[in-house]
Symmetry: none
Subunit: 134 residues, 4 copies
Amino acid sequence: MSNITLKQAEEVLAAAKAKAVALNTLMNIAVVDSGTNLVAFAHMDDAWLGSIDIAQKKARTARYFNMPTGEIGKLSQPGGSLYNIEHSNGGLITFPGGVLIKNTAGEIIGAIGVSGDTVENDHAVAQAGADAIV
Amino acid sequence: MSNITLKQAEEVLAAAKAKAVALNTLMNIAVVDSGTNLVAFAHMDDAWLGSIDIAQKKARTARYFNMPTGEIGKLSQPGGSLYNIEHSNGGLITFPGGVLIKNTAGEIIGAIGVSGDTVENDHAVAQAGADAIV
Amino acid sequence: MSNITLKQAEEVLAAAKAKAVALNTLMNIAVVDSGTNLVAFAHMDDAWLGSIDIAQKKARTARYFNMPTGEIGKLSQPGGSLYNIEHSNGGLITFPGGVLIKNTAGEIIGAIGVSGDTVENDHAVAQAGADAIV
Amino acid sequence: MSNITLKQAEEVLAAAKAKAVALNTLMNIAVVDSGTNLVAFAHMDDAWLGSIDIAQKKARTARYFNMPTGEIGKLSQPGGSLYNIEHSNGGLITFPGGVLIKNTAGEIIGAIGVSGDTVENDHAVAQAGADAIV
C-alpha cells in the first residue's frame, strides 16, 4: 500500500487553500491517508465551524469507497441501491467535496475532503488539492 | 471573535419565553456561544422532553453554518445538494427554530435554538430571542 | 412523581450563582428534573468550557442513584464495589458537585450539578442551589 | 474572546515539528481555537496512528480547563478529587502533551495537543509549539 506523506499532504493543503482564495471563499480542508487516518488539516479563518467535521468525513468517505463523494450520494437517495449508507462508519458525507489522491503511478495514496461553500466550490477546491500531486 | 455573555443569554431566554407565552405554547430554549458551547437553557414546564436535545442541536446547527437552520433543511432534502448533512457533527437539526444571535455591530456572538411546537412557532420564538440583543 | 418547575429551577440557578459570586469563582450550573432531563443551565462568563458537560453529568448522576455524586465516587475506586461505574449511562461524573433537589415534603424533584472549581467549591455551590427550595 | 488564526496555528505546527525533529521523534500535532474547534493538524510520517485522536483530545482538554493536561491527570488518579473525569466531554486525555496557547497580551487564543512518544517529549513538543506565538 502506498501512502501519502506529510510533505505531500501539505502540498495538497497549500494548493487547495490557493484555489479557495482564487474562488474568494473560506474552506475547511482535510487530508487522510490510504488507511483513512487524518494526516493534515486546515480551517481557514471564519470558515464554517460545522464544516470541520464534514471535511474530514468527506475525505474518509471518498477513500472508504474509492470514488468521489458525490458519486455515492447519487446511490444513497430514497429508493437508491445504497439508501441511507450515511449511517455507517460513524457518519458519512455523500455530497461533493471528497476526492481521492493518487500518486503519479495512479495508486491511491489518500483522499482530500473540503467543506465551506457550495458543493461545486467544495469539489473544485478538493480537486485542485488532489491535482497538486504530480 | 465576539462572544455572548451570560447576561445577554439570559435576556435572550427571557424574550423567547415571553414570546412562547404570547403564542400560548411550551418551548425548550438553548443559547450557545460563538464556539457552539452551551451558555444557557430553559425547559418550560410540560414542554416536549425530546425537544431538549433538538433545541440544543438547532442552536449549534445555526452557528455551524451561520444561517437559520431552515435554510440548511431546504438543501438537505433527497436530491438536494446537502442531502443527509444531518449525519455530521454528532447530529444536526435542519428544520426551522435555530437562529444566529448578533451584537449591535452585526458580529455573530452565538445562536439560539428553540423546539416544542410547529416549526413556524419554533422559529418565531427563536427570532424573538435573538432580537432581544439591541 | 413530583417534578421541579422551571420557576423553581431558576431559583436554584440564582442561588447557586449568588454562592459562586460569594466564593469568587466561575461555575457551570445544571438543573435536571426527576426524570434526569435538563431543565435549566447557566455558564458563567469565562468558566471552564469542559465543565459544561461535567455539570450536566453530575446532576444526572446524583438523580440516577439518589445520592450526592461524591458518595458514588467513594465506591467506584479500584477495588471498590462500583468500580468504574462511570462507563454507564453515557458517562457518569462521581466526584462532588452533584446534589439532589427535594421539595418541602422531602420528595426528590430533581438534581443540580455544578462544575468549575475545586470539588469542595463545586459541592458548596450545588448545595446552596438545592437549599433554595424551601 | 480572542481566537487563534490559521497563520498562527501553522506557525505553532511548524515550531512543534521542528522540536520533534530535534528530539528525533515522530509526533501528531493538533491545534484548536478558543472554542475547542480544530484549526490545524499534522501527522508526521510513521507516527503512531492512535495518537491522531489523542493529540486532538489533549488540545481540547487543555482548553476545557485552562491548564496543561498533566495537571488534570494528577487530580484524576484513583482517590484523587477528579477521579475518572476522563469520562466527560466525549473523552479527555489527562496526561502531559496538551498546553494552552496565549497571545502576547496573555489571552488564551487556543491550545496545542501533541502525542507520539513519551509524555515528557509530547509535552516538550507542545510547549515549543505554544512558544512560537510571540
